[in-house]
Each structure stands twice: as structure tokens, then as C-alpha cells.
Amino acid sequence: MNRHLISAADLTRDDAVLFLDTAEEMARVADRPIKKLPTLRGRTVVNLFFEDSTRTRISFEAAAKRLSADVINFSAKGSSVSKGESLKDTALTLEAMGADAVVIRHHDSGAPHRLATSGWIGGSVVNAGDGTHEHPTQALLDAFTMRRHLAGAADGGPTHHRGPGDGTGRDLAGRRITIVGDILHSRVARSNVHLLTTLGAHVTLVAPPTLVPIGVGQWPCEVSYDLDAVLPKSDAVMMLRVQRERMNAAFFPTEREYARRYGLHGERMAKMPDHAIVMHPGPMNRGMEITAEVADSVRCTAVEQVANGVSIRMAVLYLLLGGAAFGSTPAPAPSTTARTEENT
């Protein structure tokens, strides 16, 4: 483990649990009247976005600001990048400006890896989604949400929709997670398969065969083409956004057929165990992969995932920039006492 967060595959079980536990601490800050910690005062976090993603960008921005970091938003659109500046020169520019962390979203798989290993910059690199490769903070916030619902009760079990619990110290051993949709193009799915497996969960991917990558056989998960068969054996079902354009490339015939075979509607949701939750990384295509009935039900955690995203990104920035070499020696979470002092 190092000072970058590029791939969920790089995290050990203890790394992952530390991220989740730290995020629990951060979540408590969000419940206070003053939602701010002084931890990263004087540090600079750059959000370097080569792809439009307002949700992810503002989530990182809120996280950095709650830690009192200075935040610079660098959008490739309308900048020198759109005039042909290379990633290298952009990186050198940010380095010259003293960026302590670069949060990068890029349309090319591997761009964050390249940024972290090229020697162009000295700060931490956080992958905020690269091409069809990975989106590790999304996987962490998904795991965080699952842990709260599926291991958040006092006995370590599910909370049965009585609101999220606190699963601090726990992993997801034995939980059965189903991810449904466009696996082929999904960085969320890739990161989740790595992270959930590391946390002890059993992952099943469900998609039409056209949207499953060749080579998936090497992944530590099951693959099914039959959503109805998998639902009764799922503790959480994650519905991925399916872009309507995919049907133009013959990945599936029509939106209606996709919705019929792989969409989650009320009748299907009823096949899930009572305690099971429905997740969606957003933005949702209501009527495509998920119906309004399911999206608005008490089982659906989509909105909660957004809130958890800020807590997770606070934890990531805190652990990467706090100088804590997690993995070897776990960083202490910010103590309640210290926070109180600095907040008064």
C-alpha cells in the first residue's frame, strides 16, 4: 500500500476496513452543526477532471473542504487541455503549484496509474474513475453502505431497514452481493469485485453475455445471465446504469427488452430476502435498469450512497495526506477530543 489510491485491488482487508472505520468517524462529523475538521489546513487538493462528472467532483470537493484543505477544481473542458496540452504538462503545472493531492477523473483507463508512476508529480494521486478500469472510492462507499446495512446491527447482522447501523471493525464476510448491468464498460463493477472479495463477500455479476468482458473467468466472482435465479440469494443487489446508446452497438436489442430481462422492478424485488438492499451508484435511468417503485422504496440506498461518498472521500484524503502509512501501521482515527477542541 502506498500514498496513492489507484485500484481497489491494491487494498488489503485491513486497509479496506481502516478506510471504512475512518469513514464512520468522518460521518459523525457530518452530523454536527459545524461539519468541518482542521486536519488538512494548508494542504492543496486538486480535482483534475478530464470527464464531466459533477457528482463525483462535488463529492470530493465537499470532502476536501470539510477537512479544511484548499481545493482547486481543474476541468479539462475549456482549459489548455482542450487546446492540446498533454497530461504530462498539466501534471507538471499542478506540481509547480504545490498540489498535495490530485484527484483525477479521466476517460482513459490507466491515466491515474500513469500519473502516479511517471514521476511527473510528487503528491498523492486518487483515482476518481478512469475509463472502464476502476473507481475505487465508489467501491469503498458502496462497501461502507453495505456494511452499515448488512453488518450494522448490534449482533453484526443486517439492520432490516431500520436505518443504517455502525459496523466498525467488521468486514463483509459471507455476504452475497449481486451486481447487475453493463459490467463490460463499468469501472464501478471492476472496483467492487476487487474490494468486496477482499472484504470476504461473494460477488455475482449478472448481465447479458454481450456486456460481460471476455476474460471474466479469471475474476474472483460468479457470472449469471439469469437475474431471477440470483435475486433470492442476494443480500445486496447493485443496479448499474446502462447507457441507452449501447443498443446502437448491438449489445442488446431494445431498451424494453433490456428492462424486461435485466431491470429491477417491484415484482422482482419481492424475490429478494427481506433484509436485502438495492443499491445504485447513480445517475439512475428510471424505467431502464430500475423502476421508480424500486428506486423510491425503503430498500434503495441510492441517496444514502451519495452522503456516504463524502465520508469515504474524507477518509481517503485524510489517510493519504495525513501522513499515515496505513497498511503497515494503522493511522489513528481523529480523536473526538481533538475535534471538539478545534471546533469550538
Binding site: 498533454s86 497530461l87 504530462k88 479521466h106 476517460h107 482513459d108 483507463s109 490507466g110 491515466a111 496509474h113 500513469r114 508512476t117 511517471s118 478512469d130 475509463g131 472502464t132 478500469h133 476502476e134 469501472r187 471492476r190 468482458p213 471476455i214 476474460g215 471474466v216 473467468g217 479469471q218 475474476w219
Partner: protein, 430 residues
């Protein structure tokens, strides 16, 4: 060098018993155990391997148009350093080598360079666009005497255009060299499609996109009675198809690049674009099948697909990077490492796959000849005992995009002779 007589002492022709070889007036004047020539310059070979000058069927010299990455002069210098005495200059230049004028320009630049013979390849279709046949006959009839035609970089994917090209070039004993890549199956392709691409989230270039075109083209060649050459064959499946076509007696030849004999897609995990190449690096099973096919003759020859790119086209993210690797200066070392040191091929085999057969496919006169009295003195001396790390800073090529930087490889070309004139002497360009 003005000296016309050179006496090479103690070289081992094709790895055999030590012999002295006397070169006079551009030809091999004598071969024997202990030759004397008072007026000759002496080259002490000291047991080094003597090979016929290497011939490359597939070289990108980039001139005209991309002189920032390579010129005919720098490219032929790199060729000489690598032991080559003839290269086929691919047609995907700017402008495209699809007219007699452009191929003659490249041919003339080769003559002026003097480091290596340059045989231009002509485009099959106008602008490599795959729609209309280029003036193949005019390019053949030009001073450049083109016999190999290729849209390399692009596949002649239209079956009718391919059929017509195969038929048309029969009139002057030409050959179409196909870059086998079904375009629809490779839209957005970034690397070999398989376990690694699935994990890295990079667009897949499936083996079937190569194999389906090769299967079609060997059938077309058989149907019209033409010969067809397959560029940079890269998969185990392609080997099977070519083997089957040859078993039918069809006139199919194929080449493999040095990098496909050594490197696999596992290297892409670094996201370092120096490993980005087309066709992409494949799997270990493919590499082993390619070596075996080169050894048994299913694959006729090694061709470098030397593809120089400026630094900035590789010093970037994977998706933005150019495809290709330089290869002229490391080709023989990689072949020694993968084929000779593994016991798959002996030195006569290397001479066949890197000189005689590519020359025969290109119908190139004066190259790929035996090391015998009266033959043109196109020769390469290899110190096969040498071991050293590849240092791109020392390349003669204008570009540095080698996948072997820092890798220890065996063998070093110490001398290259082009028609009796040393282009490389003691490892240095003359």
C-alpha cells in the same frame, strides 16, 4: 571506406567451422580456412557468427512526412547497426506511397543514404483508404521496382478490393502483404482481448479479428491463384490457419515480429505505452506457438515492424499513445534470445528466416544469398557471446520507443557489409 578488399578472419559462416572470407569489389572472392591477401583490410572475427546481410520485409522509415520520428537516413543507419542490408519501407507515409512519384522519392533517398538498400513498398489502395486500387503497375514499372504492396497500418478489409489486388499484381509477380485486422471487431481496441484487458478496462483487440481476415485471404489467394503475405502474425490461431493453407500448397507466406516472439500482454499492466503496439502483445501461449511456427517454417520470416515514434507520443497516458515499437537495432538479439538460445533454431535457420526467405518473398535480387564465392558481399558479423542491457540512448534511430530498455539481451552486430563496403565496423557506423 574506399578500400575494396576486406579479409574477414576466423568467422564462422552460419555458425559452422571458422573460415576466412575475402571480399573484393563488392563480392565474395574467396572462402577458405587460411586465406592471405596482402592488400586487404583485415577484420578479425575471432569466431563470430557470419550471416548473410539481414533483410526486413516490414520497416517504417517515416519519410516523407514524419521526419520528427525517423528519416530514410536515420532509419537505414539503424538498420545497418542491426545487421540489415535491405529493408522494405512501408507505404503509410505522408503523403502515402501510393504513386510512382512517392516510391521513387523513397527509393532515391535510400540510394543517397548508402547504409542499406531501401526497397519501397507501395500502397494497395489510394491513400490507404481501402476503396480504390492505387496505380500498382506504375509503382512496379518505376525506378523503385515495387513488388510488395501493403496498406499496412490499415487492413484491406473489402473482400472485393483484396481479391482484385491479389489478381492484379500477378501480372508483375507482385505480392500483397496484408495487415490482418477486421476493422469493426477492433473499434477502440487498445490491447489483446483477454484476461488482462478485462481487468485493466482497456478496449480489446480479439485474436479473431486477425484470424478471420487471414482465413478469408488465404482462401481468396487460393481461389485466384495468387500469392499473399501475412504481416506481423500474432496469434496461435493464425499459425493454425497458415499451416493449413500451406498444407494445401497455396502460396501463403507470413512474418512474425521480434516483439511477438518475446513479450506478452502481461506487460500492459504497467500502462506504460512503450508496450502499445498493433497487433497487440498477446499471451504466453501465443508467443510459444509463434516460436514453434517460426522454427518449423510455418512462419517464413522475422520482420521488425520497426515503428519509430517521437517521445511525446509515448510519454503520455495509454489511450493517447501511438502504437508501435522500434525494432531494427534489437531484432537479431531478440531472435537469438528467443529462438537460438532456446534451441529452436540454428544459425542456418536464422539466416533463412531473416535473410533468404524475406528476400525471396520480396523478390529482392542480391540479398539473402549464400555465403559463397561470386555472391554479393552483403554480410553481417554477430558476436553471439555478447550480453548487455539495451540502452536506447545509443540508438542510431531517431526514436527511442523500445520495449527492451534496460533488458539484458544476447548478441551484438559488430560488422555489416553492404556489397563489400562496411556500413558498421567494430559496432560503429562508418
Amino acid at each position: 571506406m574506399t578500400m575494396s578488399k576486406i579479409l574477414i578472419r576466423g568467422a564462422r559462416p552460419l555458425g559452422g567451422e571458422p573460415r576466412d572470407v575475402l571480399i573484393d569489389a563488392g563480392t565474395i572472392a574467396a572462402v577458405g580456412p587460411a586465406l592471405e591477401a596482402a592488400d586487404a583490410q583485415i577484420v578479425e572475427a575471432d569466431g563470430q557468427i557470419l550471416l548473410p546481410g539481414l533483410v526486413d520485409l516490414h520497416t517504417h522509415l517515416r519519410e516523407p512526412g514524419r521526419e520528427d520520428s525517423e528519416t530514410v537516413l536515420t532509419g537505414t543507419k539503424a538498420a545497418a547497426v542491426g545487421g540489415f542490408t535491405a529493408v522494405h519501407a512501408m507505404a503509410n507515409t505522408f503523403p502515402v506511397a501510393d504513386t510512382a512519384g512517392v516510391v521513387e522519392q523513397v527509393w532515391r533517398l535510400g540510394k543517397e543514404s548508402g547504409y542499406c538498400d531501401v526497397q519501397p513498398v507501395g500502397a494497395v489502395t489510394v491513400g490507404l483508404a481501402g476503396k480504390q486500387l492505387a496505380e500498382l503497375g506504375a509503382m512496379h514499372d518505376s525506378a523503385a521496382g515495387v513488388r510488395v504492396f501493403s496498406d499496412d497500418g490499415k487492413c484491406v478489409d473489402d473482400a472485393v478490393i483484396m481479391r482484385r489486388a491479389l489478381e492484379y499484381v500477378k501480372a508483375f509477380d507482385g505480392v500483397v502483404a496484408q495487415h490482418a485486422q477486421e476493422p469493426r471487431l477492433t473499434e477502440g481496441a487498445q490491447m489483446n482481448e483477454g484476461a488482462v484487458s478485462a481487468e485493466l478496462g482497456l478496449g480489446g483487440w480479439p485474436a479473431v479479428a486477425e484470424e478471420s481476415i487471414i482465413a478469408r485471404d488465404v482462401l481468396l489467394a487460393a481461389h485466384v491463384g495468387s500469392r499473399v503475405h501475412i504481416c506481423h502474425l500474432s496469434t496461435a490461431g493464425s499459425v493454425e490457419i497458415v499451416r493449413w493453407a500451406k498444407s494445401k500448397g497455396w502460396h501463403v507466406t507470413a512474418e512474425v515480429t521480434p516483439h511477438h516472439l518475446l513479450l506478452t500482454d502481461e506487460l500492459v499492466r504497467s500502462y506504460n505505452p512503450v508496450y502499445k503496439v498493433n497487433p497487440p502483445l498477446r499471451t504466453e501461449a501465443d508467443v510459444l506457438a509463434l516460436r514453434e511456427a517460426l522454427a518449423d517454417g510455418t512462419i517464413d520470416c522475422v520482420a521488425t515492424d520497426h515503428a519509430p515514434h517521437p517521445h511525446e507520443d509515448k510519454d503520455c497516458e495509454w489511450g493517447a499513445a501511438a502504437m508501435g515499437m522500434v525494432g531494427l537495432e534489437t531484432a537479431l538479439s531478440v531472435v537469438q534470445h528467443t529462438m537460438v538460445d532456446t534451441g529452436l533454431l540454428d544459425w542456418p535457420g536464422v539466416a533463412d528466416r531473416m535473410s533468404a526467405r524475406p528476400a525471396a518473398i520480396g523478390r529482392l535480387r542480391g540479398h539473402g544469398r549464400p555465403i559463397a564465392v561470386g555472391e554479393p558481399a552483403n554480410l553481417t558479423l554477430l558476436d553471439s557471446a555478447y550480453r548487455g542491457a539495451v540502452d536506447p540512448a545509443g540508438f542510431a534511430s531517431r526514436s527511442r520507443n523500445t520495449p527492451y530498455e534496460g533488458r539484458e539481451l544476447p548478441g551484438r552486430v559488430t560488422h555489416t557489409f553492404l556489397r563489400g563496403r562496411a556500413t558498421v565496423m567494430d559496432g560503429k557506423l562508418t
